[in-house]
Symmetry: C2
Subunit: 238 residues, 2 copies
DNA sequence: ACCTGAACACCGTTCAAGT
DNA sequence: ACCTGAACACCGTTCAAGT
């Protein structure tokens, strides 16, 4: 009975339970609310208890990143390299949209976690299986950059912040303040065109998913062209 | 005399002096050493004195970003859009290499500062002057993402961290630990090829500048193709 | 041996007391 | 009116005292 009470008291802490609670806290309250103290409180535990399962906060973040990257679907077998890479990156993007704090966390940690290395290894394998040379694969991976993990790489990624991961895919009209529009006329022109989404230019506003796939296909099409033309180091990617 | 002593005591603080000292501190000691307290000490001033010139730390960071973005060279007039954009992005990259903390700072601030808006406006203007439609320019700007500001967008950007902005362009051999190489054979294959830089594949190791220009030209060439073929929203970027 | 409260060395920022 | 020291509400982490 004493033993039962001991083990069941609040379900025993484990590294996995710590990491899952940390991811949930960051998802719901924003990464800036993730402190060792807040996390301990969520788990009904004294702060120092966490240090039995993670060495420090950096290692906690690494563990959280691995949880997130582990959610990315493996590519369907038997598809050609382009569909396989494209599908996997779009799956990665879906995952990151559930965890908007993750891109910044990954970028600020600067060493690859095991899950990320496994992801990269598998993606490199897809290119190699598609007949890419080692060196073209190398440059292509660099060229994809963090987009390979589904990062939008927008200069300003509104949804990447705090708790608000919602708010549909299409931006609200959000007209520029007039003095901004006057100082930056080219920015204003684009903002105006993108917000008149009913009649005009595109048939849609500034649709994140469209922009992401536009950029992704621009890269994949360029990569396909290099591959087909047998690109090798002497030539520039033109 | 009392007046002179008052005004000359330590050269009076100003917003500009605060921002320049903050940039210097972040450059030299790393962004994680930039605290209001450390900055005040560098300036020989009590911490609260800073709040006369910046509202809070976020505004300090915005100001630092504007200082950095202000260092980017304007494009040379009279060149075609592709050379103009390419040259400006490479100039931006040089600037960011002097301030390795800047990319992460910009990404985490999520609203455009005036200097960044001016930069974007001018770059959009270059595309428009080159004959790009408003909507193609729009998508192209999104596709460039933060690369437009010279970000490398590598998944792990070793030099972006702390004080160490030096260490040549070419990675040292840095052989993978054998157990990593065994678990991630495709990663190992590429790492090996890139480090045998004398004989092999590329005639160079993993050269950051080469990788950056490879990716940049991949994008610019793809963009040029869309523009020449009169891309419009109905078609996908193929 | 394990767990944990208090303490340490920091933060950014408020506020009231000094000039 | 201006300036600034002390204080407040936090951090991550160490450490020694308790069981």
């Amino acid at each position: 009975m004493a033993e039962q009470a001991e083990t069941l008291h609040r379900t025993p802490l484990s590294r996995e339970r710590v990491l899952r609670a940390a991811v949930a806290l960051a998802d719901e309250a924003g990464i800036e609310s993730l402190s060792m103290r807040n996390l301990a409180q969520d788990l009904g535990v004294v702060p120092m208890a966490l240090y039995k399962h993670v060495a420090n906060k950096d290692e906690l973040l690494d563990g959280m990143i691995d949880v997130v990257v582990g959610e990315i679907r493996a590519p369907e077998p038997g598809t050609d390299w382009k569909r396989a890479v494209r599908g996997r990156i779009l799956s990665a993007r879906e995952v990151l949209q559930r965890h908007p704090w993750a891109p910044l966390a990954i970028e600020s940690r600067n060493m690859a976690t095991p899950a990320i290395l496994a992801y990269l290894d598998s993606t490199i394998g897809t290119f190699r299986a598609g007949g890419f040379t080692v060196d073209l694969t190398h440059h292509v991976m660099h060229a994809m950059g963090s987009r390979i993990l589904g990062f939008s790489q927008e200069l300003f990624d509104a949804d990447r912040r705090a708790g608000r991961s919602g708010r549909a895919d299409t931006d609200p009209p959000t007209a520029l303040p007039p003095e901004i529009a006057a100082r930056f006329p080219h920015v204003a022109e684009i903002a105006m065109a993108a917000s008149h989404d009913d009649e005009s230019v595109l048939g849609q506003g500034c649709d994140d998913q469209f922009e992401f796939e536009f950029a992704l296909d621009l890269l994949l099409d360029g990569i396909e062209r290099l591959h087909r033309h047998g690109w090798a180091s002497a030539r520039r990617p033109g």
